[in-house]
Amino acid sequence: MKDQLELHKIEDSEEIVLRFFESRIQAGFPSPAQGMFGDTIDLNRELISNPAATFCARVIGNSMVDAGINNGDLLIIDKSLEPHDGDIAVCFIDGDFTVKRISVRSDGVYLIPANKQFPELHVSEESNFQIWGIVSHVIKSLTGG
């Protein structure tokens, strides 16, 4: 089983401003009446801190489901971020893009899936390997739309 990624450009020509609901939502009983509708929220600003280095990709595959990344989700990728142990990154390894958690161990770098059906991947010396960018956000649709 192999995951794939489709990279997209971000069309940033539209300002999207939504009312931001300030009060904390208790799971199960959201009550819009409790809070004041406060400041506005601009999703571009919320999701993209560095426009020149931010790219978007759609996930195809299930290797990261336990990390909350499902088939069809949109990833916001920030290439300006330095990779750290434990980050979820878009990587390029031996000819393919993949999204995995990076694990730095004494014997080298591992790519860790978040799905027991997938194996861990050791990045060997011979691998053609590149950390393409760090996944900063996952956008998922809960209505299937």
Partner: protein
Amino acid sequence: MYGLIDCNNFFVSCERVFNPALNGRPVVVLSNNDGCVIARSNEAKALGIPMGCPAFQIKEYTNPRQVVQLSARHIVYADLSHRIMSIMGCEVEGLEVYSVDEAFFRTPYDDVEQNHKFLARLVKKVHRYVGVPVSIGFAPSRSLAKIASHIAKKDRRITDGVYWLVRPEAIDIILRRTPIADVWGIGRRLAASLMGRGIDTAYKFAQMPSGLVRALYSVTAERTQRELRGEDCQVVNPVTIAHRSLMTSRTFGQLLTDRREVQDAIVHFAQSTSRRLRDEHQVATTVMTYVRGDHFREDLPYYSNSCEMRLHTPSSSAMTIVHYALVAFNAIFREGYGYRKAGVMVSGLTPESGVQLNVWDTEDHGRQRALMQAIDGINQRYSAHMVQLVPETSQHSWAPRQSHLAPPSRTLRIYTGLIDYES
């Protein structure tokens, strides 16, 4: 001093960003219609495939199946180019975007070593942020910076992507090795004519008596010559630059930390940029806003960022330009930093007359144009700032109440979309 940033094998490098499997392989990008080579990877250059080579002739140089041949995707290249130029625009002064993959700028320091350190960091930053490798050359003139950037790209001993030509002895050595035809601004016919006189290197050209160059050729050729001698002659044709982008920016007298103050500056810059667009009868397709801290102050946290917006329909209307400049500003402004400089740049300029309307566009361009003409007319007649746009946002949220301020001199305030009077 001037710097030139140049993207290495730009179209091929763009393709490699989205397909790293192409790294290390001979790759060519073909033009859309006639299928000629318009970009080559270093590996393809090494195989001897020349620029402009028709696709079907690649077999004369090598086994064509070894070479990855890609159709040009100019939208992708333009997107990555904008990203690179917007990073540059917020890091350096006086950016002149010269082509999709080249831009001149002024280097920030007087000291060569400091410039070198700063620019080497910038090369790294652009590569990491966008994925495209770039080279930078710097020198006392643009023509020399161009030669320096070429060396930065070609010479394998240069590992950090930066090369400078500053000391006269170094300039002499390099000019002796530079064929006259490779000098920026020396066209094919001029090169042929100079070669006919035995002037085959940039050095020999630089040594010719200036009067002779002017008499035999042109003032432009003489300017190029003076540039090779290290004089700054502004050889960039300002008309060419104007067609590509217009920038209004300013260094603030002090570090600004207040959002409102920086925003007001952005609105002001956007308005004067749109005014310049209308004066030149041009319209812009993108609007870029940048903010920058003070990189000379190492005691303070430094933040710089830029954001570029695409317009649905190319425009020169102050309302549109201000609107998009502010959307971009809101995306990048962060509280808690000091801002030393900000600016608004419009690019993708085309003549007003050739605008294609977007079918999804709901703005009434005829009315906007009439309004702009009226405003320009009033401002011309009375004073440059008689009528100004005031962003709606400055009436809300963070804006302090202004009801107790003394009324300003008679100013017509125009909000995006509606007009009211104030006296």
